[in-house]
């Protein structure tokens, strides 16, 4: 805690309140509880949880790009598909499947570097479609390659050595592991000075650059991280479903769900994507059978949130209740000179309001 003396009282800059420290402990305990779940819950429940974790992972990644980097990507499926197909290729070469999954995620992150050199030259809507074109190119290239099944798809046979229950548990743990790792990395990033710089970039790129924030490097870091996460998600999806096709794994559906989750949960907040993932998971469960109407509902909801609830459900809750589970910001604690009267005001660093005065 840094204390600053001014004429008007003492100001203390806190990194976390007592409440958020409590919640962090609770979250750590929660993660431990989740880790032992496969010994306790049914395999159906484990399967469902894995799906939920995958959703939270990709939502978190998309939010990192859009909410903290100001980069709206409609091409993350490029890396999801890349991760899945890299797993296949490695597995065909004899790499044990779970190792292949981890390696595939790393490959995705590595490939993101040259790809970022290309797409980060674009901004705004051009960046969005540029990333989409990259995804389309990858899908086309892979569909041309018969050794990975071409357009008809391919299976991850390497996992057949494991009995189904074990396979589910391993996939679950790996998903949980990646989720905690990546979301933890984002959390650590945001708390660091790089993170402050990133949020400055999001709010006003030119101003940030004028202060010496390395805008380009910051965006590239987010892009690589998000791509690594999406590649992991793609590889893990393969582990879960065992069969993929270029058309589906490189499809826009994953991006559409990412956008929905983040918009509904809260763009630019740390907790938002998690809330959004839970909401989406539930909605998918109840309504996916309604086919086109389900998608119309999703699209309309996303538009409504983008226009009317820009900070999402979590942003709304945060404003009302002044809670913050993950202390990613800085709070200004104001103490009047004579009294111990403390009034604490969270600063506006997480405001997702752009162009609003």
């Amino acid at each position: 805690m840094t204390a600053i003396e001014t004429g008007r009282g003492r100001y203390a800059v806190q990194r976390g309140t007592r409440r958020s420290r409590r919640s962090l402990t609770a979250i750590a305990a929660g993660i431990v509880a989740l880790a032992v779940a496969p010994f306790v819950l049914s395999s159906y429940a484990i399967d469902q949880l894995t799906e939920l974790f995958l959703l939270a992972l990709v939502a978190g990644m998309w939010n990192a790009l859009a909410g903290y980097g100001g980069l709206i990507s409609i091409g993350q499926q490029a890396f999801i598909g890349l991760g899945a197909y890299a797993t296949i290729v490695l597995s065909h070469r004899g790499v044990p499947p779970y190792l292949a999954i981890v390696a595939a995620a790393v490959i995705g992150g590595v490939l993101a570097v040259p790809i970022s050199l290309l797409v980060l030259r674009l901004r705004g809507g051009q960046f969005a479609i540029g990333t989409w074109v990259v995804a389309e190119v990858l899908a086309l290239l892979i569909a041309l390659d018969p050794s990975v099944g071409g357009g008809t798809g391919v299976s991850l046979t390497g996992l057949n050595v494991y009995p189904p229950a074990d396979r589910q548990a391993y996939t679950y743990w790996l998903t949980l592991g990646f989720g905690v790792l990546l979301l933890g990395a984002i959390f650590a990033l945001l708390r660091s000075s790089i993170g402050a710089g990133l949020q400055a970039i999001r709010d006003d790129e030119e101003a940030a650059a004028s202060l010496g924030v390395r805008v380009y490097a910051g965006k590239r870091l987010l892009f690589v991280l998000a791509s690594f996460g999406c590649a992991a998600a793609g590889a893990l999806t393969l582990a879960k479903t065992l069969f993929i096709q270029p058309r589906s794994i490189f499809g826009l559906e994953s991006t559409a769900s990412m956008i929905f989750m983040v918009l509904v949960g809260g763009l630019g907040t740390f907790e938002g994507p998690l809330i959004g993932a839970i909401v989406f998971f539930a909605i998918q469960h109840w309504f996916a059978d309604f086919g086109a109407w389900y998608l119309i509902g999703l699209g309309t909801t996303a538009v409504a949130f983008a226009l009317f609830v820009p900070r999402g459900l979590w942003g709304w809750a945060e404003q009302r209740l002044h809670v913050q589970l993950f202390p990613v910001g800085h709070r200004l604690d104001v103490r009047a000179p004579d009294s111990d009267d403390r009034r604490s005001r969270p600063n506006a660093d997480r405001s997702a309001s752009r162009g609003r005065n």
Binding site: A66, G70, I72, I74, L118, V119, R121, L122, R123, G124, G125, Q126, A128, I129, G130, W132, V133, V134, E136, V137, L140, L141, A143, L144, L252, A256, I259, L263, A292, W293, L295, I296, L298, G299, T300, A302, V303, A306, L307, P310, S353, R354, G355, R356
Partner: protein, 292 residues
Amino acid sequence: MIWVSVVIQGVLLGAVYALFACGLSLMFGVMRIINLAHGDIAVVGAYLVWVVATRAGVSPFVAMVAVVPVMLVAGYGLHLALLRRSLAGGPLVPLLTTFGLAIVIQNVLQQVFSPDVRSLGAAAGRVTTASWRLTGELAISWFGIATLAMAVLLLGGLALFLRHTGLGREMRATAQDPDAAQLVGIDARAVYARATAVAVATAALAGAFLAIRSTFEPTSGPTQLIFAFEAVVIGGTGSLWGTLVGGIILGIAQTVGGHIDPQYSLLGGHLVFLAVLASPRSKTLAARTSRP
């Protein structure tokens, strides 16, 4: 000689892309919005023309004459209802809302019209199958030429409109500096709504031409959006004539790729796009990415 035919086919294909790109380019130039629902709006146009053509028993060309004004009004309304608010939310919100809109449109079309693939080619009659025989191997379809003529007319007409008319000047002024524009009495909201109206109407036209030339279905939108966008980028954002050239280059890239191997046609276009993107002289970065 066969390559000449390939290139010519590419030019004619490119004309379709230029038609699609016209509206996208206009909206981006005036409002800095990339309308992710642009392709789907074009498909709506195709469906409307199909409905009018089949219900009224007229040629799709006649149906177009009825549909275009309707789409003009619809575009104006789209701006007032959705885009205006999206613009107020910041530069990224329009991307999100138009993406959501695209999903809604695709699925509404699917519900209303079923996922069946359709075409307006038959309804358009002889004009779609007739062609000029130039030499033994070289034939150019009438409809291809008609599409090219339409693209030139539309893009050229818009360029002239922007350069020489009062409303066009207003649009250019608002595009260059909306704040200064309001200070000289220009209603930016009305300008944007007009631009959206024109973009939507041209999209509908493009959709109808595509429907006549080949097939369409509820999910045809996104593919056309990508091609339209690539045409705009290849031709250099900020110029309508550039969009025409970009569309033609894209068309040629696809036909050349497709001639080498049918599976390479789309890839050919994408690779040219990425190459343009990677080139250091690319006008996409400088031209319209920051306000003066």
